[in-house]
């Protein structure tokens, strides 16, 4: 750091050596100026130190003020700086004295200012300096005279400023703390001293001058072609990088793929199986290798795509290749899937309110008619009230119907075990008809109430259906001609996965009931699910799907003489001996939900039998109470040993497993009761349908009358099947015209806290009244 200090010194001549000629001139004026003007000058130092100091003064601030040289005329001849930024100053030397005086005044003022703030206001110092430089130039042009050369020159000598060229502070080492370092340094110092002493006369050291040659330079022009430049930009979003990595991974997999054996591949393929049976989410096995990315497929330039796809090409002459590509798109299975989903969405839009009601969601008014929820709920309330006043009733929601099923009677309805929105409905006939129509099985979904999502056609009417629990996509259908088919609803193909056409153990009569049962197998087998079918030919057959479609006969239903109380019992028994066949025909079946080995079979004679899978000759128990075919028997979901049955004799009987007589008999009309279903929510409520109406009974309330009756009208035909919905308070009713109507139950009594107890109470009450009745009788 070299600091330059301003000094007070009187300067009379301080011209840089380069301008030697006018030095005399300057000095003359300086002498005269001694009267008045003194200037503190750096330039004094300049003169003494000669050329070198000038050269070193490359810093700013070194060129500060030039001493003021007033001339004879009273003006000023101070040299002006080379660079002018004071516009007022003019180059004309022949100025009037007054102007020069004013200049001097201004410069004096500037100088005084500089005096005032030393070193701080560098800018103004510079300015002053430049102004002075101009004056210097002017000086040079005035002619010299002989007299000037002879004149005396006064030279003032003063000390220059100290200019520090190098300042290295000494490093201090404390020998006590850094003992080793101090030692080292001392040694070094000694060595150096020795070296210095040595150096003087030593041969190792030779003083030599060197001159570096400055290579002469030559510029040579040359010409090249224009260097082409192009810019390329790219953005990679996060998912773009992800896609690239995935592609790389997949490529690696593909390489390993080839090295694997077939078995391993098969294993892997099995593992990737979708869950939802109807939504076919299986990915295509080979990655699509189509070229440019669409909507951000595996592409490297997603941002560029925006501009590309913004313009839709006019379909001018398309090449055959492109056409083929487009056709391929149209036939792709993915497109089918997408259309499927969009159709659901479209239909859902239309039936928003109904679905909301079904799912117990608040209804939102979607429309243009202003504000919304208040109105809609109002409308619903109105609808509710317009029905019965706060008593339980049914609100009609929608119906499942399509042209394909018109005219066929609904024979069975079952919800999918896993996905409670999927309903399988079978169409056919219960009774024999001379011309057998083809049967149908349709899979409907709550999400699309207009169109069945799967349709399977069968050769004859379907009379029984059941979904598998283990494989939720397998649907078993029992036909009127005795066959049992198993469909896979994921693919929707018309061919059943299994069928009993070739099986020797198939039924010869219509299959009345099907049920999938999970069996606990022996030690070395896992629990597998078997299909059990009961048919009018009197046999109960168990089908297994593990290897092919195997059957095993579980039971042959034998006719059992009904033991009914009454006077002419003996006579009846004798008559019963002369039977046409000893075989009874099963008309319904139900497996005990708790004990999978035990099941009930209802026969066309009206008897119910409890059977076990382990015994195939004898019944465990027989129940007598009906006098006509038992169309449906169902175990209670809440009490393990209570079941209910309905028959063509206009009655519904409630049974307890250890009593051979019914606990109570219910009936309200003179029509045969075709179907019945327990409510999943309340233990005392069930629904049944007869030809003319739908009835919902609440046994806790009354066993004499149903709480809701919904008569059918002409165009719906007679009701054939009823089913409660598991996940919503709704009831589904199928009729002989092929419609399935969905009703919402409203104002139903809430479920009792202890369901089992409630039902038990009902039973006890019934038994008590019966006891009373028999006692009084």
């Amino acid at each position: 750091m070299s600091q330059v200090k301003l000094q007070e010194s009187i300067v009379t001549s301080s011209r840089p050596a380069a301008a030697g000629q006018s030095a005399a001139n300057a000095s003359k004026k300086a002498r005269q100026s001694r009267k008045g003007f003194y200037a503190s000058g750096l330039y004094a130092s300049r003169a003494t130190s000669g050329v070198s100091s000038r050269k070193s003064g490359e810093e700013k601030g070194v060129w500060s003020k030039y001493p003021r040289l007033p001339n004879d005329q009273g003006g000023e001849d101070t040299p002006k700086p080379l660079l002018e930024d004071d516009k007022k100053v003019s180059y004309d030397t022949k100025e009037t004295p007054s102007e020069l005086a004013s200049q001097s005044q201004s410069s004096q003022l500037q100088q005084t200012r500089v005096h005032g703030d030393r070193g701080s206001d560098r800018g103004s110092v510079d300015q002053l300096h430049w102004t002075e430089m101009k004056t210097l130039r002017d000086q040079m042009e005035s002619p010299l005279t002989e007299a000037d050369l002879e004149a005396d020159v006064d030279i003032e000598i003063s000390e220059t400023d100290t200019i520090w060229l190098l300042d290295i502070k000494p490093k201090l080492v404390n020998p006590e703390t850094d003992g080793d370092l101090a030692e080292l340094i001392k040694q070094r110092n000694e060595a150096y001293k020795a070296l210095l002493a040595d150096k003087v006369g030593n041969d190792k050291y030779v003083a030599r001058e060197m001159n570096t040659l400055e290579a002469t330079k030559m510029t040579k022009p040359c010409q090249t072609d224009e260097i082409g430049r192009s810019e390329f930009g790219n953005t990679a979003s996060g998912w773009d990088m992800f896609d690239s990595f995935q592609a790389q991974l997949e490529k690696e997999k593909a390489d390993r793929f080839e090295k694997k054996t077939d078995e391993e591949l098969a294993k892997e393929a099995e593992q990737q199986q979708g869950d939802d049976p109807l939504e076919d989410n299986r990915r295509p096995l080979e990655p699509t290798s189509k070229s440019p990315a669409f909507v951000g497929r595996q592409s490297t330039t997603p941002s560029v795509l925006d501009s590309e796809f913004g313009t839709v090409r006019e379909s001018v002459a398309m090449t055959a290749e492109e056409q083929a590509q487009l056709d391929a798109i149209l036939t792709s299975p993915k497109l089918k899937q997408t259309l499927f989903i969009i159709e659901r969405a479209v239909v859902q839009n239309n039936s928003q309110n109904l679905l909301a009601t079904y799912r117990h969601l608040p209804i939102i008014e979607l429309d243009k008619t202003g504000d919304s929820e208040a109105e809609a709920s109002q409308a619903l309330l109105v609808r509710q009230k317009s029905g019965a006043s706060l008593s339980p009733h049914l609100a009609y929601l929608w119906r499942y119907s399509c042209p394909a099923v018109k005219g066929q009677a609904v024979t069975c309805m079952v919800w999918n075990k896993q996905n409670k929105d999927i309903l399988a409905v079978s169409y056919g006939k219960h009774e024999y008809e001379p011309e057998m129509k083809n049967g149908l099985v349709c899979c409907w979904s709550v999400k699309n109430i207009q169109q069945p999502e799967r349709v399977f056609r069968t050769k004859s009417g379907v009379t029984a259906l059941s979904w598998s629990t283990q494989f939720s996509y397998l649907l078993a259908a029992g036909l009127f001609d005795g066959h049992v088919l198993i469909f896979d609803v994921r693919t929707g193909s018309q061919e059943p996965v299994f069928d009993s056409y070739l099986s020797p153990g198939r039924h010869f009569g219509p299959v009345r009931q099907l049920e999938w049962v999970r069996k606990e197998a022996g030690k070395h087998e896992e629990t597998q699910e078997v299909l059990v079918s009961a048919s009018s030919d009197g046999r109960v057959i168990q089908w297994s799907i593990r290897k092919g479609f195997e059957f095993k006969e579980l039971m042959k239903l034998k006719r059992v003489t009904t033991v009914l109380p009454g006077p002419s019992q003996k006579q009846k028994q004798q008559k019963a001996d002369a039977l046409i066949s000893r075989q009874a025909s099963g008309s319904s079946m139900a497996f005990n939900p708790n004990d999978k080995n035990v099941y009930l079979v209802g026969t066309e004679d009206g008897n119910l039998h409890k059977c076990s899978c382990s015994y195939n000759e004898q019944y465990l128990e027989s129940y007598f109470g009906h006098s006509s075919p038992v169309y449906s028997v169902k175990w209670s979901p809440f009490l393990t040993d209570v079941f209910i049955s309905c028959a063509a004799d206009w009655t519904i009987n409630l049974w307890q497993a250890d009593r051979t007589r019914p606990v109570t008999t219910m009936g309200s009309s003179t029509k045969s009761i075709n179907s019945l279903s327990w409510s999943p929510k309340s233990s005392c409520i069930f629904a049944c349908v007869n030809d003319g109406q739908l009835e919902v009974w609440n046994m806790a309330h009354s066993t004499l009358d149903p709480i809701i009756t919904e008569p059918t009208d002409e165009d719906t035909g007679r009701y054939t099947h009823v089913l409660f919905s598991d996940n919503s308070d709704s009831l589904l009713v199928g009729d002989a015209q092929g419609n399935v109507q969905v009703f919402k139950l409203e104002n139903m009594p809430s479920a009792p806290k202890n369901q089992a107890e409630a039902l038990d109470r009902v039973i006890q009450l019934a038994l008590k009244t019966e006891l009373n009745a028999s006692q009084t009788a």
């Binding site: 909507v295 487009l326 798109i329 149209l330 497109l335 839009n349 928003q352 309110n353 008014e365």
Partner: protein
Amino acid sequence: AEVEETFKRILSHKGVIGAIIVSYDGIPIRSSFAENDVTVQYCALIQQLAQKAKSAVRDLDPGNDLTFLRIRSKKNEIMVAPSPDYLLLVVQEPNDQP
């Protein structure tokens, strides 16, 4: 054929104004709109929007992907099902009656 059948069925639902199937490079393959300029307009605009939506979804989580896009406006609803090969869009006027 099944595709055609489903397509026609969708169009027959209540409230549906039209439906378009667009290929990956922006050519409408099937369109139920009579005027070509309407079709072209829908194609271009909806494709860009679907692209943007897909980009957004994937930026948030690269393992995720856009499956369905629904735009509800005052007068109608546009449902878009994007896919690597094509884009399917249906315009429907929503109402409450099935």
